[in-house]
Symmetry: C2
Subunit: 275 residues, 2 copies
């Protein structure tokens, strides 16, 4: 197959490198800043480049790696260029808004939501890796009318690329889970380092500080879009977390040993069971 | 010197192993459950054991590795056994209560608060490591009347053992910093996995989930004591964190892009600067 990677930043270039390493598909690549495309071609990360008008009609699968807000406009603007019955997907971290918007359009290609679940605290082509997805999940969210064989083709490609796990689910369930597993962790990390004590941590910190604060290294532009596009599930998770934090606060304030112990024992048991 | 390690669990046995690996001091060891002491002797983790009546008077430095509540009683009960002018220290995670209580006693030995800052999600002799403190801080909190040369001797031992960093501070500053760098992280991790979505995380989680949830594997008995002994600093940190989480919540609810972006940009900048 011809696989077109649109956007050769951290995720796009890592997908291209993984395709080159683990599959024999032909990788076409395009990036807004042309110097990056030229480097990717020189590095053998992509096999071919050109204008969007040249590349898009050749692709059996197109993977769009843009910020959330840019994905729908890109697909709508180029809708007449995509190859008939080809698969168009993306890699952005929220799925409901994109899927439910595109579902209303009439295309002769198939859009399927995609989310290769990996990232780094650094971004851009220079930080891309052919190992980024080694232990990662690939989640895909077909539309109501996506033919089963198209979903299977995309899942098959993810397996061929070496993703550790593939999950097919609804956009809504994806977004709810991501609010919990990823978005709230980023909200937390930023909230944590905003403490007035943070600048004095050196000498007093070990693994706990390092782990909880890690994803405070955040791309504010991208995450602002992701959070606002997933408002309800994320606010639910914040409320739930604040509610649990307040249970700890109450137990500590009231010297309620039993309740405090129960909360921790419950947390400990859950973590032990679910990993 | 003769160094006596009282309590051969994760921390005590790791201290003993580190002393044997990096120094030539003689390591005496004692553990409530005698089978562990016998194994430690057989494994060469300690050089000598015996009764507390035999061991305590020989020690130039005694390091007590018990749960917080057991440290003061142990020192008071054995106060006539400690060698004159010797150093007595401990490894527990809060310091104000212990230091300010022992300061009122008249001893002819010197108690100095100690905190070798490392841990694992598993406990006990079997999980002890001679590498546990390789990148760790050793914090010590002398009393008002501790002679400078005694503090220097304890810091010198920590350096000899290979701690990456040594810090001398007041018990109050230690406890405030630990509330931020360690205790709140444990409160958070437990609060996080109590979410009703936690059991479904598999397939939807990556590094963020793993890092934030890690220390939910908690020893509830020990941490209940640590939290209640550090009530005010910890509650201040919980309030501060909840306050910051609510700033995110408000920005998201109000679609306030600018404020949301500013919060993340600030978090990102702090993390970039302070590491």
């Amino acid at each position: 197959m011809n696989i077109l990677i649109v956007g050769l930043g951290l995720i796009g270039a890592s997908l291209a490198k993984t395709l080159k390493k683990n599959t024999s598909h032909r990788v076409l690549g395009w990036n807004r800043t042309e110097t990056v495309t030229i480097r990717a071609l020189g590095d053998g990360v992509i096999d071919e480049t050109g204008s969007l008008q040249e590349l898009i009609p050749k692709a059996d699968i197109t993977i769009i790696n843009f910020y959330p807000e840019a994905i729908i406009p890109f697909i709508i603007d180029n809708k007449d260029l995509f190859k008939r019955h080809s698969i168009v997907t993306d890699s952005c971290g929220i799925k409901t808004k994109i899927c439910r918007t595109l579902e209303k359009e009439n295309f002769d290609f198939y859009y399927i939501g995609g989310h290769p679940m990996a990232g780094r605290e650094v971004s851009g082509y220079d930080n891309s890796l052919d190992t980024l997805f080694d232990n990662a999940s690939f989640i895909c969210t077909p539309l109501e009318n996506t033919p089963r064989q198209k979903t299977d083709a995309l899942v098959g490609l993810a397996q061929e690329m070496g993703f550790a796990r593939t999950v097919v689910t609804t956009p809504e369930h994806h977004d709810e889970m991501i609010a919990f597993t990823s978005q709230i962790a980023h909200v937390l990390a930023c909230s944590y380092v905003l403490s007035p004590l943070a600048p004095q941590h050196a000498g007093y910190s070990a693994g706990s500080y390092r782990d909880v604060s890690r994803v405070a290294r955040i791309n504010a532009d991208m995450w602002t879009q992701l959070f606002l596009d997933n408002k309800e599930p994320l606010v639910r998770e914040i409320d739930d977390l604040v509610n649990n934090l307040n249970k700890f606060r109450e137990s500590i304030m009231n010297d309620d040993k039993k309740n405090l112990h129960d909360l921790m024992e419950k947390g400990n048991r859950i973590k032990e069971e679910i990993g």
